[in-house]
């Protein structure tokens, strides 16, 4: 046995960290991140707006400073959405409860089709910034038994909108050499790309709107532009998975009705051919996050981000959408074949669940 081989046996029996140790370290990190954020934001905010009680600045500090519970938190006492928006969200929630979720039988799949568009910023080749919009569409096949194999077909990205000549050049450069074949990823438990299983822990989320909103404020503390804006983003992110059960969907709409600053931004918003009511919140950073709901069924049509100022994206004017997602779900009897855990041309490395693929 040479010295290195022997050395490698020393302390090789050291135990993995316990979940408590890992949680403790993670909590410390998240709290640290949260405190940094709220401090930075408070300083900026105070300079600009002076000391305002009850605003989002104070709220951010409160979220970061207090360990809030679902029962005692930010929701409820700072007002809520604009009355018309709150009423429409309440109606949508009532409709959502009446709409039954598709039943996925044994051996069947819930097929979640996502039409998504996002903005890409690049350079037009002459050193000028330019932006364009590209798709990120996909279909996820979620098996009835979540322990079974999931399949995710990811379509190649395609340019859908450009904004002038510079934008066209940037898009053309970026699309050179881009793949034109869909990628198929298949993973037991939805552990895509050798990562962790996809777990939608919807059962544990509170159905009481106020408790749910407090929960959302708590888990999103420290992210985004404002606590209220990030809460709406969380709701949009959760809804756009397409797999939220009806009772939680209703609770999320009612939670959105409790977020100060949420208004109806468009009564006839059309996304992917479906028209519904858009609810949004002006974040003061030139971008408005919206969720679009079909008022008759309470189904989510999608979510989008609207630009409120010129030049937030280089060369793009106010009023344009900088990204959107439309989601539809259906029940199907089979999923596509082919593909692998790491998609096209990669293989897992670093052991199962390491989150790493190479190739």
């Amino acid at each position: 046995m040479d010295e290195l081989t022997l050395l490698r046996t020393v302390h090789d029996d050291i135990a993995d960290p316990t979940p408590e140790v890992l949680d403790q370290g993670r909590r410390a990190l998240v709290e640290h991140i949260g405190s940094q954020r709220s401090r930075a934001r408070s300083h900026r905010g105070l300079k600009r707006t002076g000391l305002i009680g009850g605003g989002t600045i104070a709220a951010a500090a409160i979220v970061a400073a207090l360990v809030v519970t679902n029962v005692v938190g930010l929701a409820g006492w700072r007002g809520g959405a604009e009355p018309a928006a709150a009423e429409a969200l309440g109606d949508a929630a009532a409709a959502a409860i009446k709409t039954s979720d598709p039943a996925v039988g044994a051996g069947q799949y819930l097929k979640v089709s996502t039409q998504a568009v996002y903005s890409v910023e690049g350079d037009d080749g002459t050193g000028h910034g330019a932006a364009y919009l590209a798709t990120q569409n996909g279909q996820m096949y979620v098996p009835a038994d979540h322990n079974d194999e999931w399949v995710w077909v990811r379509d190649p990205s395609a340019v859908v909108q450009t904004f002038g000549a510079a934008s066209e050049r940037a898009a053309a450069t970026a699309e050179q050499g881009a793949s034109n074949a869909p990628e198929i990823v298949r993973a037991a438990k939805g552990a895509w790309y050798n990562g962790k299983p996809t777990e939608w822990d919807f059962a544990s989320l509170p159905r009481d709107p106020q408790q749910l909103l407090n929960y959302i404020y708590r888990v999103t503390a420290g992210s985004g532009v404002s606590v209220d804006g990030e809460a709406l983003v969380f709701i949009a992110d959760t809804l756009r998975t397409g797999v939220v059960p009806a009772d939680l969907r209703a609770a999320l709409y009612r939670a959105a009705a409790g977020i100060p600053g949420v208004t109806i931004t468009d009564r006839t918003a059309t996304l992917d051919g479906h028209t519904g009511i858009a609810f949004g919140r002006d974040e003061g950073n030139g971008v408005r996050q919206e969720i679009i709901i079909d008022p008759s069924t309470g189904l989510l049509i999608g979510e989008r981000q609207i630009l409120l100022r010129n030049g937030v994206l280089p060369g793009v004017d106010a009023g344009e959408s900088m990204g959107w997602t439309a989601v539809t779900t259906t029940v199907v009897n089979s999923a596509p074949t082919g593909g692998s855990l790491c998609g096209t041309g990669s293989r897992p490395v670093g052991g199962a669940g390491s989150g790493q693929c190479q190739g």
Partner: protein
């Protein structure tokens, strides 16, 4: 090309679910969206902990683990985007923090020397005695080594980094690492009573300057 800071991965409702991005991309995105940095933790906390626990024992490793990620978060804007994996960088930070626990490290190595190898290594009784002695000498030698040689050696042997990874972790050229590792291994062999003449990395010139 880069995505807007506001861009969010699809199908990631639970923020603990890892996206498909490389570490360097996540670190870059965490400039604007600090909360994303928690994903670096989810990916590498166990490895950082195991490395620290092997060096200073589980109790001190808890501290090293927590501090490593706080320091990494504070330094995230200085992360060199060339490196796709953040692991060597994190292990480098952990290595610096471990120096604050030199007492714990020395105690742990002394205890190792006394306890000998883990049961599973050898079953034959004579071999076991030999191995016991060898591990004892090894632990004592590591304890007496200069810190820079020990750091390089243990990042290589216990954290499974390659030469480039160790160089990245410690922020020195690869040639320097090669030199430190050669020296450390020579010292280990000498302490085990082997002939010192035979270098294991045959044919590789030691290009690092003296004292590296």
């Amino acid at each position: 090309m880069r995505r807007r800071p506001g861009y969010r991965e699809l199908n990631v409702p639970n923020r603990a679910i890892p996206s498909v991005s490389s570490d360097s991309e996540i670190v870059r995105r965490s400039w604007d969206q600090p909360a994303i940095f928690a994903e670096v933790y989810d990916r590498h906390a166990s490895t950082v902990y195991r490395y620290a626990a092997r060096r200073v024992g589980s109790e001190a490793a808890n501290d090293v683990l927590g501090e490593t990620f706080l320091v990494a978060f504070e330094r995230r804007t200085r992360y060199d985007q060339i490196h796709e994996s953040a692991l060597p960088w994190l292990l480098g930070i952990a290595t610096i923090l471990i120096r604050k626990h030199r007492g714990a490290e020395a105690r742990f190595l002394r205890a190792t020397a006394a306890a000998g190898p883990a049961e599973t290594v050898v079953d034959d009784r004579d071999e076991r005695l030999d191995a016991h002695r060898a591990v004892g000498e090894l632990a004592a030698t590591i304890r007496r080594m200069p810190a820079r040689d020990r750091d390089a050696l243990l990042l290589y042997a216990w954290a499974d980094l390659d030469y480039e990874g160790v160089a990245h972790a410690l922020g020195v050229p690869v040639g320097t690492i090669r030199s430190r590792l050669n020296r450390a291994r020579r010292v280990l062999r000498q302490s085990a009573g082997d002939k010192p003449a035979e270098e294991v990395d045959r044919g590789r010139a030691d290009v690092a300057p003296h004292g590296a």
